[in-house]
Symmetry: C2
Subunit: 518 residues, 2 copies
C-alpha cells in the first residue's frame, strides 16, 4: 500500500497513513501536542448485568459470541502469562471455528508460543498484529507476509493509543490467575500466578466488551482487584490459562559472561562516581543477566554507603526482592514480575506495589512515573553515533523484539545502555541504526566492555567524570574499535515495502520496518 | 423559574428542566436506559507537567489561579473530613477575594461546618449547591434562598453524573491526609486521617483540573494511592486540612434507648428466622446507634451458628472492625471509616478494603457491589403505605439530610428499614411521604418497636415467616398504631416553588423539594 512518505524529525521516511488511518510523523521530543478528548466508552447500565454479580458464562466461545465477535473486530490480549499463555491461541481457534475473518490482534506483547497463530494470519482470520512480536511472528512480518501493516508501541504507547481512541478495542480478553464471577481479577494467586495484570488496565477501562478468563475462580470479592469487575462484561472459568513453568521462568540469573560482568561493573562504578547513587535515589533495571548484575552491584554500593533507594521500578525478580527485604529499597513499583520470588513478594509485601502502564508510562497523562526515575538501565540491539537506538530489529533487518517499556524509560533522568560492543561479530554501534526506536537526545550513557561514552548533551556528567579512571571515550572511538575488531558493518538487504510502523510514546511515527529481502 | 412539570412513575410532579438543563423524569426501576458515551476529559500530555513529578505550588490560591478559577465554574470537594473540613470554606474565601461569582459547589456532602458558606450563597459567590446539605444549608435551601435549584444525588448518583457528563467539574479540590508532590494521595496516614478518600475518585478521573491539598506531604511514592497522581494537576501543602476530633467522632456508640434496642433485636431476629444469616452472607449497616446494635446482634448470631460473613460493607466502625479481627467477617469493603478503629484497621489489615462509589454504587457501570449485598440496614425519615421512603426531608418539609449511599443500597437483596414508629410524637409511617427518595418496591421490611411489616411483593419472606412469634403486621396496621398514639399527621406547609431536585441512581428525577412556608 503506497502511502505518502514524509521525513520525520529523526530523518526517517514515514507514512502519513497506516492501514487507511491517518498517521502523524514524529515531531521531536515533547513537540506533538494531542488535541481533543480521551476515548469515551459507551455508558453501561446495571440493568444489563446480573444483580447477584454472577457474570459467568459456560465457555470462552459463549463469551465471545455474547460479546458479538465478528469480522474486522479488534481483539486484545496480554502477555502476563508470557510464553505459557494458553488463551490467546484458543481465542483465534474459536474465531476460525466461527468463520470470523480479518481480526486485528492487539496483544500487549506476543511470545514464541503464539507462532501457532501464523496459520490464522495466513488464512485471513487475523489481518494483522498491533503489538510486540518476538521471534517467528516478527520474522513472518519482516518477510512481508502480514496482510496489513503491523504497529509496534511501547507499553505506555499502548495505553496512550487506547486512552486516546487511536485503537478502539472491541473485545478484550483478560486472563487472570484469580478472579471472581463479577470479574474482579488479579494475577497474584492460583496455579497460573504471574504477579500482576496491569497491562490489561487500559483494555478494561476502554474496550467495548471485556471478558475475564480464569482457572482459579474465588468467591466475591477477589481482592486485590487489579482489574475491576465493574468494567467486566463476562467471566469464564477454564481448566488452565497457562503453563506455570513457562509463565515465570524461574531461571533468570545474573550473567556469568566475563564481558557482561565487566559491563555491569563499569555501569555501577560509573553511577557511583557520577553521584547517581544517593540516599533516596531510584532506579529501574531490566531482567537480562547484565541488568541483574548491575542491580547486585548497586546493592553492594548501597550497603557500603549505608544508604537506601526510595524505590526501584520492576520488572521484579529475586535480586530486587532480596534488596527490598534487606531494606535497601523502600518500595518496588512493579510493572511485571519476572520470577516466583517477585510474585510471592508482591502478594505478601505491601511495599511491593503493582503499577500499570497508566501510572508508569502513559505520556498522555498528567505526568508519569518514568520521568521521576533517577537511573534507568536499558538495552539496545544497535546504537548510532547520535545515540539513537534500536530495540526491535537486528542488524539483518529482521523484526524480532518488542519495544516493551523501553521508550517510556528513556524519560528517566539518566538513561544508561550497557551493551556489548559487538554481538556475533557484528558491531552494535553503527553509523545508522536499522530502526530508530528512541531519539539519541534521551540516551545519556553507553557502557561497553571497552569503554563508556557520555552523550555530549550531558555536559554535567562529562564535567563530573573529569579525572575518573573509568575508560571514558567518545562514541566515535567506541564505534571505530568495534569496526576494527569486526570489520565494517554491512547494511541489511531491505525492500521499500513497509511491514511495520514504530510509534513514539505520543502516538507519532518515529520509524518504520521494511520487508527483508532474503 | 417555572419549568414544565410532568408526573413521573412514582406520581410526583417533576420539572423537565433544572437550572436550564434538560432533566429526565423518573421512569421506574431499571427502565431508563442511558444513551451515548461517558464524559471524555481532554487528553493531557506530560509536556505540561514537571518531569521530576513535583507539582507543588505555594498556596491554594496559586493553585486555583493556575487552574483558571473563574465565574460560573463548577467546584468540587468531598466530605472525607466531615465536620472537621477546613478546606472547603477556604476555597470560597479565596474565590470571594478573587471576585469570582456564580460558582456551582459540587460537594460529595456538606456538613454543619459549611454553614459558613451561607454568606457566599447570599452574595452570589456561590450560585447553588449540588450535593447533600445537612442542617443550616438545607434550611437555607428549604427557605428558597438559594439562587438556583439544588440537586441532590446519592453517592453512586454523583459518580454516575460525573462519569456521564451530566455534571462537568471544572476544578476538583481533593483534601488528603497524606500525599506526595506528584499528587498520589490517601486518607490513611497523617494527623487528618479519615481512612479513605474514594468519594473523590470520579472527580480525579473526570475533572478538568485536579488539585490535591495535604497537610502531610511525603516523598514519592505516597502509597496506597487512593487518588492517582497521574490524574492530578497541582499539589498544595497547607498547615492543616482538618480538625481531627471532628473528622472521626470517636463517639459512635450502640444505642442505649430501650426502644431502639428493641428495634435492633427484632431486626436481627427477623434476619435469623428468615434465613438471611447464612455462611458466606453479606451485610451493610450504617453508623447510627440502632444499626451498630444490629451489627452486634448479627455477630452474636454468627458466633452461635459458627458461621462467618464473606463480607460486610462499611461505613466501618470499631464494632465492624472487632468482627473482622475476630474472624466473623472475611472482608470489610469500606466506603468510609466512621471512627479511628476503622482508620487503623484499613491502614493495617489487608482484608479491610477501601472501595469507591464506582465499585460499590455506580448504576451506570457493568454492575456494582450494592446489589450483591444480602442484607442492607438503612434508615428513613418517613415511609408511606407503599413502602416508598424519604431520607432527605423531615415531616415539616425541611431539607435537612443528604441521600448518601441510601438509594444505592436499596438494590441489596433484602432491604430493611429499622425505624421508630414515631419521632417527637410525629408518626414515621404516612399516607404519603414528603419526598420520595426511594421507590417502595425496593424496600422489603420495616421494623419498628411495635411490629414488623413485610412488603407484600416479598411473598417469599411472608411465606418463610409464617408461624413466627415475631410481631409481623401489615404496614397499614403499623400506621394506624402510630396515628393512634400521636394523632393524625399534618402536612408540611409548602409553596409550589421547587428548591431542590432529588435524582434517582440513574440520573432521572424522582422527586423535588419545595419551599417551606414558615
Amino acid at each position: 500500500m503506497p502511502a505518502q512518505l514524509v521525513k520525520n524529525m529523526v530523518g526517517r521516511m514515514v507514512p502519513t497513513e497506516i492501514n487507511g488511518e491517518p498517521a502523524i510523523p514524529y515531531q521531536g521530543i515533547g513537540k506533538y501536542r494531542p488535541t481533543g478528548q480521551k476515548y469515551a466508552p459507551k455508558i453501561s447500565t446495571c440493568i444489563d448485568y446480573p444483580s447477584d454479580g454472577n457474570k459467568l458464562v459456560p465457555t470462552l466461545k459463549n463469551a465471545l459470541e455474547k460479546a458479538g465477535l465478528k469480522d474486522g473486530m479488534t481483539i486484545s490480549t496480554h502477555h502476563h502469562l508470557r510464553n505459557g499463555d494458553l488463551i490467546s491461541n484458543l481465542i483465534f481457534d474459536i474465531a476460525k471455528e466461527m468463520g470470523v475473518k480479518n481480526l486485528r490482534w492487539f496483544p500487549s506483547a506476543s511470545f514464541p508460543c503464539h507462532e501457532y497463530l501464523i496459520k490464522y494470519l495466513e488464512d485471513g482470520t487475523i489481518s494483522h498484529i498491533e503489538g510486540s512480536m518476538n521471534g517467528q511472528l516478527g520474522k513472518f512480518c519482516s518477510q512481508g507476509k502480514m496482510k496489513k501493516t503491523a504497529v509496534l508501541r511501547s507499553h505506555g504507547g499502548r495505553y496512550q493509543a487506547v486512552q486516546d481512541g487511536e485503537v478502539k478495542i472491541d473485545i478484550a480478553i483478560i486472563s487472570a490467575s484469580c478472579a471472581d464471577a463479577f470479574g474482579n481479577a488479579n494475577g497474584l494467586n492460583g496455579p497460573s500466578a504471574s504477579g500482576l495484570i496491569g497491562f490489561a488496565l487500559a483494555d478494561s477501562q476502554y474496550a467495548d466488551k471485556v471478558i475475564v478468563v480464569t482457572d482459579n475462580l474465588v468467591p466475591f470479592p477477589c481482592y486485590p482487584w487489579q482489574i475491576q469487575g465493574n468494567n467486566v462484561d463476562y467471566t469464564v472459568k477454564v481448566d488452565k490459562i497457562g503453563i506455570p513453568e513457562k509463565i515465570v521462568s524461574g531461571t533468570t540469573e545474573v550473567t556469568k559472561s566475563p564481558d557482561r560482568l565487566l559491563i555491569a561493573e563499569l555501569t555501577a562504578r560509573f553511577c557511583e562516581e557520577a553521584g547517581l547513587i544517593q540516599e533516596g535515589f531510584s532506579f529501574q533495571a531490566g531482567a537480562g543477566g547484565t541488568a541483574l548484575s548491575i542491580g547486585n552491584f548497586f546493592a553492594d554500593i548501597m550497603r557500603k554507603k549505608g544508604i537506601k533507594a526510595r524505590f526501584a521500578r520492576g520488572g521484579s525478580n529475586k535480586y530486587l526482592v532480596n534488596a527490598l527485604e534487606e531494606g535497601l529499597i523502600e518500595y518496588i513499583l512493579d510493572g511485571q514480575t519476572f520470577d516466583l520470588d517477585g510474585v510471592r513478594s508482591m502478594r505478601e509485601n505491601p511495599n511491593h506495589v503493582d503499577t500499570s502502564p497508566f501510572t508508569s508510562y502513559n505520556y498522555h497523562g498528567k505526568g508519569n512515573f518514568a520521568s521521576m526515575v533517577d537511573v534507568a538501565i536499558l538495552g539496545a540491539t544497535e546504537v548510532d553515533l547520535n545515540y539513537n537506538a534500536n530495540v526491535v530489529t537486528h542488524s539483518d533487518g529482521y523484526l524480532l523484539h518488542g519495544i516493551g517499556g523501553w521508550q517510556n524509560c528513556l524519560f528517566s533522568k539518566n538513561v544508561i545502555l550497557p551493551i556489548p560492543l559487538f554481538r556475533d561479530r557484528i558491531p552494535v554501534i553503527k553509523d545508522e541504526v536499522t530502526t530508530i526506536c528512541g531519539p539519541g537526545e534521551l540516551i545519556d550513557i553507553i557502557v561497553t566492555e571497552r569503554g563508556i561514552a557520555i552523550n555530549p548533551l550531558r555536559t554535567d556528567l562529562l564535567e563530573r567524570m573529569k579525572g575518573t579512571k573509568l575508560p571514558i571515550k567518545t562514541i566515535q572511538q567506541l564505534k571505530e574499535e568495534g569496526d576494527r575488531i569486526c570489520g565494517p558493518s554491512t547494511k541489511p538487504n531491505l525492500s521499500d515495502e513497509i511491514v511495520a510502523a514504530i510509534k513514539w510514546v505520543d502516538g507519532t511515527v518515529i520509524d518504520v520496518v521494511r520487508r527483508v529481502i532474503d
